[in-house]
Amino acid sequence: MTYLLITFLVVLLVPLFAATWRTSLLGLSLQGLLLGWIALRDETAPSWHSLLVLVDLPIVRGLLVPAYFYRVLKRRKAPARSDVIAPNFFSWTLAGMLVFGAFRFAAAVVPAAALDSTQVVTHVAVASSALALGLFVLGSRNTVVSQAIGVLRIENAVTLFELADTPRLSLPIHLVVTIVFLAVMLTLGRFFSLLAYSSLGRNKQRSDIAK
């Protein structure tokens, strides 16, 4: 599974350097598809649970949500450029340091004697990187699009942690969580539709949101 995790890490990092909301949405879409792959790779026989995972991760997170946001932002003619972090060497170094720190953290918290410890360390490290970068994106810019991207990155990081070694949720509970996630996404889309053009993508020194 390590190659999937490394791919996930690449998908986390690349959109930080490409300053458009389209790239960010593509990154989120790939994250959703990879999460689905990671979750379903060991499934031997189809079950209701695997069907729900298929709907939740690759279909909803990987395809529907990014497509919905793409449609809304395109209709709103949101400014193409949308840096999720400040486009300078300092921010990129900081992002690199966060990933490095996440790997150190994983090495420290996963017992070396654990079964498959290298794989678990990689999993925890990538999930921690996703979380740290999500928080970094969230805190870096004050435009609505980049903040929303930050929230979605954090949601994906939580899911990746869940896939690491946490007991599975029962089917009805998983269904409830998926429905709530969809409701949150619809609310996010509604904000994209309602908020002023200026607050969607322009990077301001001090927007109204920060006041």
Partner: protein, 481 residues
């Protein structure tokens, strides 16, 4: 800031025009729902007397002292807010235009709040708390323009991040496995409370994230900045719903987390809550000194209350009774003050403290309620907030937290002086705009009067059955296992 204010909606927001019947039916339905839910909560509080939690609906619903007390509180406040909305629509028919949508989301908000309080499953409770947030977004936006939209975005963003941290915390706690001697991790609260946690770094991290996430939802430092903005910009009825209902639903979640996970690392829980509580109180005091708008001032006071509750929860033990008393009083105080702020705003057409004066002469009822609310806010006797604060302070001394006690007292003094300096001229100062104010209908005064009675009762005399309920809730929290 607006009054409960589809007034601004009269033309500005919804020009489609709702059927005239909305005006009479929707608020009446809101009150009817409030009566029904308050009646149900009252019935539950009176009829269920068992010390053992009653688990229903395949284990997903729990009726225990905590859920009984907070259901009663949530629904009493909602009934008061619904009556306020009804009375406002009756006195100002222009407000009726978008009341149907508002009422629908308010019902959704309180229904999910009730279910969250009754929930026995930490993830279901999390989902319901998220749904209360989603239902609150249109309530905040109601009748507002772009600036309110941005404020509601900020509320939504902070809530989403806070709840994401909570879900990550649950993942971390569950990762360490079930109870000692058991296999699978259970998210059911009644199982967790009786469970000896394994401990370890993941569970400690999980508890930390749970406290941070719920702290965000409660408006505790460091992620508090959404609270004053939202409380100021939202319509008063919505602010009362957020401050008195959603705050307490999030608090119930925190109480459940404390019941279940405090034993993982009591020192970590204590240190985190003390730090967050004191930082919140300090931030609130600094902002109170500089506040120039009365609704914002009340919002900062709400921040301060959150801080006091966090400090009290950190101590546990006998202080838990004071915390519960303080939290329930706090809900009534916020409801009284925010609903009264709506009246003041509609009379003076300003948010500025300096432009309001002689309230007690201009608006005798509202002035009196504002005065009483401010006294209770400042923790003066004979209100429940005074007694609660006193118990928390004595807990600090008994626990040997002298430096925390000193900081607590200094911050409270600053808050007291700053609030009094700003608010007392509003109440007793020179009148700024004296008009013949029409007498207020009983439906407008009654909810606040009942809240006031509850506040006094909590300070002077609680009927034994209600007091026993408070003690049961405190007992569930008080002991660090």
């Amino acid at each position: 800031m607006r009054t409960w204010n589809p007034a601004s909606a009269s033309g500005a927001v919804d020009t489609t025009g709702r059927p005239a019947s909305d005006a009479s039916i929707a608020p009446a339905l809101l009150v009817a729902f409030g009566l029904l839910s308050a009646g149900g909560a009252g019935w539950l509080a009176v009829t269920v007397h068992t010390d053992v939690p009653l688990v229903l609906a395949a284990g997903f619903v729990v009726v225990d002292a905590t859920s009984r007390l907070f259901l009663l509180l949530v629904n009493a406040i909602f009934l008061g807010v619904a009556t306020y909305v009804w009375s406002r629509v009756r006195s100002e028919p222009s407000l009726a235009q978008t009341i149907g949508r508002y009422a629908a989301f308010a019902v959704l908000f309180v229904a999910t709040s009730n279910l969250a309080v009754l929930s026995n499953h930490l993830i279901v409770m999390w989902a319901l708390l998220e749904l209360t947030t989603l239902a609150a977004v249109p309530l905040i936006q109601h009748g507002g323009g772009d600036s309110v939209l941005l404020v509601s975005w900020k509320y939504f963003l902070f809530s989403s991040v806070g709840l994401a941290l909570v879900s990550l915390g649950l993942v971390f706690v569950a990762r360490a496995g079930g109870c000692t001697g058991h296999g699978e991790f259970s998210y059911f609260i009644v199982d967790l409370v009786t469970c000896e946690m394994r401990g370890g770094v993941w569970q400690k991290l999980g508890v930390l994230l749970l406290l941070l996430g719920l702290g965000t939802k409660l408006g505790l430092a460091p992620m508090y900045s959404w609270l004053p903005d939202t409380y100021e910009a939202a319509p008063p009825a919505t602010t009362a719903l957020l401050g008195a209902i959603q705050f307490n639903v999030a608090l119930v979640y925190l109480l459940r987390v404390m019941q279940a996970f405090r034993s993982i690392d009591p020192a970590l829980v204590r240190g985190t809550l003390l730090g967050m509580g004191l930082a919140t109180m300090a931030v609130s005091a600094l902002h109170t000194v500089a506040a120039t708008k009365y609704k914002r001032l009340i919002a900062y006071a709400a921040l301060n209350h959150g801080g006091v509750i966090a400090v009290g929860l950190a101590l546990g033990g006998d202080t838990a009774y004071g915390v519960i008393l303080y939290a329930v009083s706090n809900a009534f105080i916020k409801a009284i003050l925010f609903l009264t702020a709506g009246k003041i705003r509609s009379h003076y057409q300003t948010d500025d403290i300096r432009e309001v004066g002689g309230l007690i002469k201009d608006l005798p009822y509202s002035g009196a309620f504002f005065m009483v609310g401010v006294f209770a806010l400042l923790g003066l006797p004979p209100f429940g907030s005074f007694l609660g604060e006193l118990i928390i302070l004595s807990g600090l001394i008994r626990g040997g937290f002298i430096s925390v006690f000193s900081a607590f007292c200094v911050i409270l003094t600053v808050t007291f002086v700053a609030t009094g300096r700003a608010v007392f001229p509003m109440i007793w100062g020179e009148s700024k705009k004296r008009v013949n104010w029409a007498s207020q209908p009983l439906t407008s005064v009654l909810p606040k009067l009942l809240f006031f009675c509850a506040l006094v009762a909590m300070g002077l005399y609680l009927p034994p059955s209600v007091n026993a309920l408070f003690r049961q809730v405190a007992a569930g929290l008080g002991v660090s296992r």
